[in-house]
């Protein structure tokens, strides 16, 4: 499956919507999108994983890197994910305790940026 990222601005959040599979081959794409967004002054990000049907630990690593980057700029990161196979990988690594998940983008971007 072809993987890509679309960036949009919703309320005060930049939404990075990823589709495809998130692994060692595609995680640099997410890293670059996060770096670019923060460089543009957007420190409050939503990573939308609704279109991601596979993630492995390399993919998780890129999401961890995104969280570290926005926090280093006093920002916040929210994840959108309702795919059980993807959520389960976060849970197996106990990372569901680290990230804030939303079921859809509307719910995420409705979150005040002062969270």
């Amino acid at each position: 499956m072809f993987s890509e990222i679309r960036r949009s601005l919703r309320n005060q959040w930049v939404v990075l919507a990823m589709t495809g599979e998130l692994d060692l081959g595609t995680s640099p794409m997410l890293r670059q999108a996060v770096v670019a967004a923060v460089a543009d002054g957007h420190n409050n990000l939503v990573i939308d994983l609704s279109g991601v049907d596979f993630i492995d630990s390399a993919g998780l690593g890129s999401v961890i890197g995104a969280l570290r980057r926005v926090r280093s700029h006093d920002g916040h990161l929210l994840l959108v994910c309702s795919e059980q196979r993807v959520l389960r990988v976060f849970e197996m690594c106990d990372l569901d305790r680290v990230f804030t998940f939303h079921v859809d983008v509307d719910s995420a971007v409705g979150t005040p940026v002062q969270v």
């Binding site: 060692l24 492995d56 690593g61 969280l67 196979r85 990988v89 106990d94 680290v98």
Partner: protein
Amino acid sequence: MTGIVELRVPAVPEYLQMVRSVVGATASTGANLIPERVSDLRLAVSEAATNAMEAHGLSGVEDRVVIRCDLSASQIEVEVADSGPGFDPNSLSPLPDVDSPDRLRYESGLGVSLMHHLTDETIVESHGNGTAVRLIVHFGN
């Protein structure tokens, strides 16, 4: 259906998706292997193949990574073999607890524990001239 399927792929991450697809398709032909178990095996193989490709990349090895699926009546065994420098699987340090701020400093290090979690047996054999990881899923579990 029983048999052996073998892949030899360049140590390039773009091949990971193909590796997962072939292993998943092979496992799906096994008797009574539910889709969740196939997904688990695909993830475990992705972890092993990622480590193999990174081992080749770090050491400049140009050999191909070999993925061998051995499908029998009772199980599927997938061996992922590389020609990298090897490592001591007993020397892996646990990651900081997720409640620790230090946890965010680590973007890798989850692969081997995930493989053990996702399979019935994970056997890692590593030497100075390569590593072979055998991932075994029994049918009927």
